[in-house]
């Protein structure tokens, strides 16, 4: 089994929990469908977004230079980081130079990818995640299991216990409203005490030098507006050419993510606030390598809405942590092998290739094709599990020889009828691990077809 399959097996062992998780995410998918149905030009928006991203990615260096020029004019201090280590060092450098030690952070998958929290804590910085879901997983010393719904894997009773321990809420209390109110009070103090706010970036605009951050809670906005210093971290792929392009992407983002027509707050930052400082860290960390791949560069168009996770039958049942990657789900399984093919070789198999992810992707990434391509590429490099490679080789040999194929078919039908159960359901039969084999047909499809023709 691949590492994903092993972790997924542990997750699905709790059947009730698996169904609960599945249902919660399917509910989000249904909300997304309703929101999409209210926009007649949805498909045109997707096509436009995909074309805009493809165009931007084909001229990314130029657009980044334009963005840097305009951002600098607005008073933004632009930093560049080749990899996660440099990103972390840049952030720590900004803090150290100014003696800042209390940092409030809003959601940023990039800082998760760079493992910024642990790094800063080691250097004596007090890091508080302020998105409610992220705060929950931070208190639980876990990582987000979903990029939009970080604590979707946790039950409210578990969150109640966690808050009882850390925020001194009443023992046994699990009402979401009560728990959210407790977190609001606790985090409000942290916002007011913070001396620096760190946010991610949803979209950066080359033409204006500004950037946009979308949240429902208002946590990014408080963190970027109360402390004097605001640091924003973005991957190079967050760029869009013009402000008018925001209409296309903002219309797609929240509807795809949660089924809302728009997030509660869509903040546009153009330069620091009067009297404040704004630092922007532009990070590569493997993105240029992904861009160099003609087959996989389309994955850089991702706007991190999470729709592919909510719809994926594997994700819904196996949970985000089973992927073992910062970004889980279909898009995560496409992105991760580009960084470390050996470590994540199993992820492209965490899919039934049903194509639902591709159908819902707002920027039309051909996710299931990408997963299939990875299986082929990683297989050719000898990185996929040996069993899968052998099975593929045997399959290929048999399928290229019609006579052998017919013989094997006949043998299989006979075996299914005649062999005892103990032999049929050997560990080698992965299909039969959780399922019954279908009854063997009396004749092959070919024979039935011939008969029907007569």
């Amino acid at each position: 089994m691949t590492p994903h399959a092993q972790r997924a097996a542990a997750y699905v062992a709790d059947t009730a929990r698996m169904h609960w998780h599945d249902k919660a995410l399917w509910h989000v998918r249904q909300k997304r469908d309703a929101a999409v149905a209210s926009v007649p030009e949805w498909e045109a928006l997707r096509t436009q977004a995909a074309a805009l991203k493809a165009h931007t990615l084909s001229r990314l260096a130029e657009y980044l230079e334009e963005f840097e020029r305009n951002a600098t004019k607005l008073g933004v201090v632009v930093h560049w980081a080749v990899d996660a280590e440099e990103h972390n060092a840049v952030v720590l450098g900004i803090l150290k130079e100014r003696g800042l030690v209390r940092l409030v952070k809003s959601k940023s998958m990039l800082t998760e990818e760079c493992h910024l929290n642990g790094f800063l804590e080691k250097h004596g910085v007090d890091v508080i995640d302020t998105d409610l879901g992220e705060r929950i997983v931070q208190l639980a010393q876990e990582t987000p299991s979903h990029i939009v719904l970080p604590a979707i894997h946790k039950k409210k009773e578990e969150i109640g216990e966690l808050f009882h321990e850390h925020l001194h809420t009443e023992s046994g209390a699990s009402d979401p409203k009560y728990l959210t109110e407790a977190a609001r009070g606790h985090l409000r103090e942290r916002f007011l005490a913070a001396d620096v706010g760190l946010t991610g970036v949803n979209f950066a605009i080359a033409e204006t030098g500004g950037f946009v951050v979308c949240t429902n809670e208002g946590n990014a906005d408080l963190g970027a507006s109360l402390p004097r210093v605001h640091i924003a971290a973005m991957g190079v792929e967050k760029l869009i050419p013009r402000a008018e392009d925001l209409a296309v992407f903002v219309r797609l983002l929240a509807r795809s993510a949660t089924g809302q027509p728009v997030t509660s707050y869509t903040s546009h930052f153009h330069g620091p606030r009067p009297g404040g400082e704004l630092h922007l860290v532009i990070v590569d960390n493997g993105r240029s390598a992904l861009l160099a791949s003609a087959t996989h560069r389309r994955a850089l168009a991702c706007i991190r809405c999470g729709a592919c996770m909510n719809t994926c039958p594997v994700f819904r049942r196996s949970g985000g942590h089973s992927y073992g990657a910062t970004v889980p789900g279909p898009i995560g399984s496409v992105l991760a092998p580009s960084g470390d093919g050996r470590r994540y070789a199993g992820l492209p198999f965490a899919s039934s290739l049903c194509g639902s992810c591709t159908d819902v992707c707002p920027v039309k990434i051909d996710l299931h094709h990408q997963l299939l391509l990875w299986r082929q590429e990683l297989g050719a490099e000898g990185l996929t599990p040996l069993g899968k490679r052998l099975a593929a080789r045997v399959g290929s040999f048999v399928l290229q020889r019609p006579r052998l194929y017919r013989l094997v078919g006949w043998l299989a039908r006979a075996a299914m009828r005649l062999l005892p159960r103990a032999l049929l359901y050997l560990p080698l039969n992965a299909w039969g691990r959780q399922r019954e084999l279908p009854p063997a047909p009396a004749r092959s499809f070919r024979a039935q077809f011939r008969k029907a023709l007569k």
Binding site: V82, L192, E217, L226, L246, R251, G271, D284
Partner: protein, 197 residues
């Protein structure tokens, strides 16, 4: 080589041959009654839309809001809606605004398709935190400034200098605990938009 040069040259080497910028979208949805649609969408995102006929009616309606009537501290940048009792002029440190219960601000325009109001930061300056730190938010918009979609909205916006602006769609909210919608996560616990005229 600096990291900047390193990244830019790696991206130049990696990029596909330049692809053209697509022509802008030709058409998108419109609404027969944008104002009514805005009110519906604002309700859907947890806010409340109130239509008043005049500025006199506006100040009466704002004063009559339960959250305003109960509030000790109201910060207003729209004197015709509410006089306010928190001094905003001269506030350089946004932390001084932490105890504001109601903020009354002007929205430049509203968007029918999603219930959002564009709140420009120009009038707020260093005090933009007010928009997020207040317990309740009151926004005042002219109904002629309700545009159908974000396409018209961005066509109205000019980002030609330092500044801040935010689309605010209803109150702050979260569904991070078991997908249960809770209003009032970190920002405003309620958002009321007054359309005047």
């Amino acid at each position: 080589m600096s990291s900047r040069e390193h990244i830019l040259s790696a991206l130049r080497r990696a990029a596909a041959p330049a692809l053209p910028r697509p022509p802008p979208l030709a058409e998108w949805q419109t609404f027969e009654e944008p104002v009514a649609h805005f009110a519906r969408m604002l309700a859907e995102v947890g806010g409340t839309c109130v239509r008043v006929i005049s500025e006199d009616a506006l100040s009466d309606s704002v004063a009559a809001l339960e959250v305003v009537a109960k509030a000790q501290k109201v910060a207003s940048l729209v004197p015709e809606a509410h006089p306010g009792n928190v001094q905003l002029a001269g506030v350089e440190d946004p932390h001084q605004l932490a105890s504001v219960e109601v903020a009354v601000l002007r929205g430049a325009f509203a968007v029918a398709e999603n219930g959002a109001v564009w709140v420009p930061g120009a009038a707020l300056g260093a005090r933009r935190a007010l928009l997020f730190v207040c317990q309740h938010l009151v926004l005042v918009v002219d109904p002629v400034d309700v545009v159908p979609t974000l396409h018209e909205a961005y066509a109205r916006l000019r980002f030609d200098g330092p500044g801040f602006g935010c689309f605010v769609a209803g109150p702050s909210k979260t569904a991070d605990i078991e997908q249960a919608l809770v209003i009032g996560a970190h920002g405003a616990r309620s958002a009321t938009v007054f359309l005047v005229g």
